[in-house]
Amino acid sequence: MARFEPKASPLTEPFWDATRDKKLLVQWCPDCDAGVYWPRVHCPRCLGGDLGWKEASGRGSVYSFSVMHVAGNPMMADRVPYVIGLVDLDEGVRIATNIVGCEPAAVRVAMAVAVTWETMSDGRNLPLFEPA
């Protein structure tokens, strides 16, 4: 079964469009010079609305993770066990993702990771992370 493929909104379309070229964008507040995740119409620090996008390095570290032995939602039933994680990007935002490219038992907190991509049915790519 295909995993759940998120619908883009007008706000998040730039993020999803960029994934077609395997570019990872982070919403950016120019006033705070800081990232915002997930995308919003405002910066949670200053409430400013002048948010843009910045291409992220795709590098980060594992803040936490879990090996899922029961599917978190029905569309992941045939993928167990799989690894969910929170990754701290070098740009300073924390994102939910999957850790792939190694045995689940090899994943560690603080492990260095880099983005990799899984192609979705419409040509967009879902950003995942693997050991760097």
């Binding site: 759940f4 493929e5 998120p6 879990s66 899922m68 029961v70 939602n73 929170l86 994102i95 939910a96």
Partner: protein, 404 residues
């Protein structure tokens, strides 16, 4: 430091402490996990029982709290056939009912209500699981941020988010699987003394660790049940409560806070919940400290939920939760009897467990719990709720009249 009833202090500027008391409670659960009644019928049955417990009638109720429904408290009152002058439909997931008590106590102290009814009923075990609801939320597409940013990665079941907190706590503080498992063991030991509990057979740390993983490091026996259940709580003026059927259980301190919603990526620190704010506020209003607490009834959706609450509420230092629970402190005969009904892990968990800590704390402080479950000489209890995915907490400090 302890302010007198009705007094005002920096920590209780409106003089809420002690003005309201829990005067009636009821719960409906079954060892089978299933109930025959559902929906409004089940709600009415626990309302009837709680009013009877208090020695009050429906005509005495002038405030209503409910968390389920589109206009939750309004729809409930309509069905009951009452016209309250005060209402609260606050919905923060599992902590909704502690917040209801907080709001009710403030309303009573302000003279806006005299007697408030809090009701919850859900029958997910008989009436199907919420996976269908989850699927329908996903098909909506992009409405909740977690649908766009978390669900594609296989998040969804609560255990996914809580397991991340457990992993992080282990990495930061060296907490072990055995220590977390000890929480399930202590809770089951209490459940073995509760004939209403879903699971009553004692278990060992080995049993917990031998149960299958749901989301590492959380095993099946570290996850709450899915059962039918209902509860009702009646809060009234302490000055009138003294003439009612049961000894009043005073609301001494209340506090609420939240750090994020349903996206665990938005939680600032996976090892510190909003209880680090709600707990100290509630204790300050009560003029009490964690060491004054005789019984703790705290939300146990998972073992890690309890561990974080113990640290954040101040029963032990941050990071020391594992060592604190490992030697049975939470169980019968332990230094901090916790979840004496058997908790969400072994007694009942219909989805939003938070009404049941209030019911059990009240019964413990009245001294009316049988079957070897009563904590001797309990004067102060804490009921602590946690809703969402470690998102919204509310802490209620309760005490016998002697503590006022």
């Amino acid at each position: 430091m302890s302010p007198a009833t009705g007094g005002r202090s920096e920590d209780d500027p409106a003089g809420v402490r002690g003005k309201a008391s829990i005067v009636g409670v009821a719960d409906a659960v079954s060892p089978t996990g299933k109930l025959d009644l559902h929906g409004r019928e089940l709600e009415v049955s626990v309302v009837r029982e709680a009013l009877g417990d208090a020695g009050l009638t429906l005509a005495d109720v002038d405030g209503v709290c409910c968390a389920t429904g589109m206009m939750a408290s309004v729809e409930l009152a309509e069905y009951l056939g009452i016209r309250p002058r005060w209402t609260d439909s606050t919905m923060t997931g599992g902590s909704s009912f502690e917040i209801h008590v907080e709001h009710a106590a403030c309303a009573i102290a302000a003279g806006q209500a005299d007697t408030v009814l809090i009701v919850y009923a859900a029958t997910p075990r008989s009436r199907g699981q919420d996976m269908a609801q989850m699927a329908s939320a996903m098909s909506g597409g992009g409405q909740m941020p977690m649908v766009e940013w978390d669900i594609p990665y296989g998040f969804g079941i609560p255990a996914a988010s809580y397991s991340l907190a457990a992993t992080r706590h282990m990495a930061e503080f060296g907490t072990t699987p055995e220590q977390l498992a000890a929480i399930s063991v202590s809770t089951r030991a209490w459940a073995s003394k509760n004939p209403q509990a879903r699971f009553q057979d004692p278990i060992s740390v080995d049993d917990v660790l031998a149960s299958p993983y749901v989301a590492e490091p959380l095993h099946k026996l570290e996850c709450c049940l899915v059962t039918d259940g209902a509860g009702a709580v009646i809060v009234s003026r302490t000055d009138r409560a003294r003439h009612l059927a049961k000894p009043p259980v005073a609301v001494l301190g209340v506090g609420t806070a939240h750090t994020h919603g349903m996206s665990i990526s938005q939680m600032p620190d996976l090892c510190t919940t909003a209880a680090a704010v709600s707990g100290p506020r509630a204790f300050a209003m009560a003029g009490l400290a964690p060491e004054d607490v005789d019984v703790l009834e705290t939300y146990d959706s998972f073992t890690i939920t309890v561990l974080l609450a113990l640290e954040d509420l101040g029963f032990c230092k941050k990071g020391d939760g594992g060592a604190f629970v490992a030697e049975g402190a939470l169980g019968p005969g332990g230094s901090l009897p916790t979840n004496t009904n058997g908790g969400g892990l072994s007694y009942t968990h219909p989805g939003m467990y938070g009404i049941f800590p209030l019911v059990e704390a009240t019964r413990q402080l009245r001294g009316e719990v049988g079957n070897g479950r009563q904590v001797g000489g309990a004067n102060v209890a804490v009921a602590h709720g946690c809703g969402g995915v470690l998102s919204a907490t509310s802490t209620v400090v309760l005490g016998r009249e002697e503590v006022l």
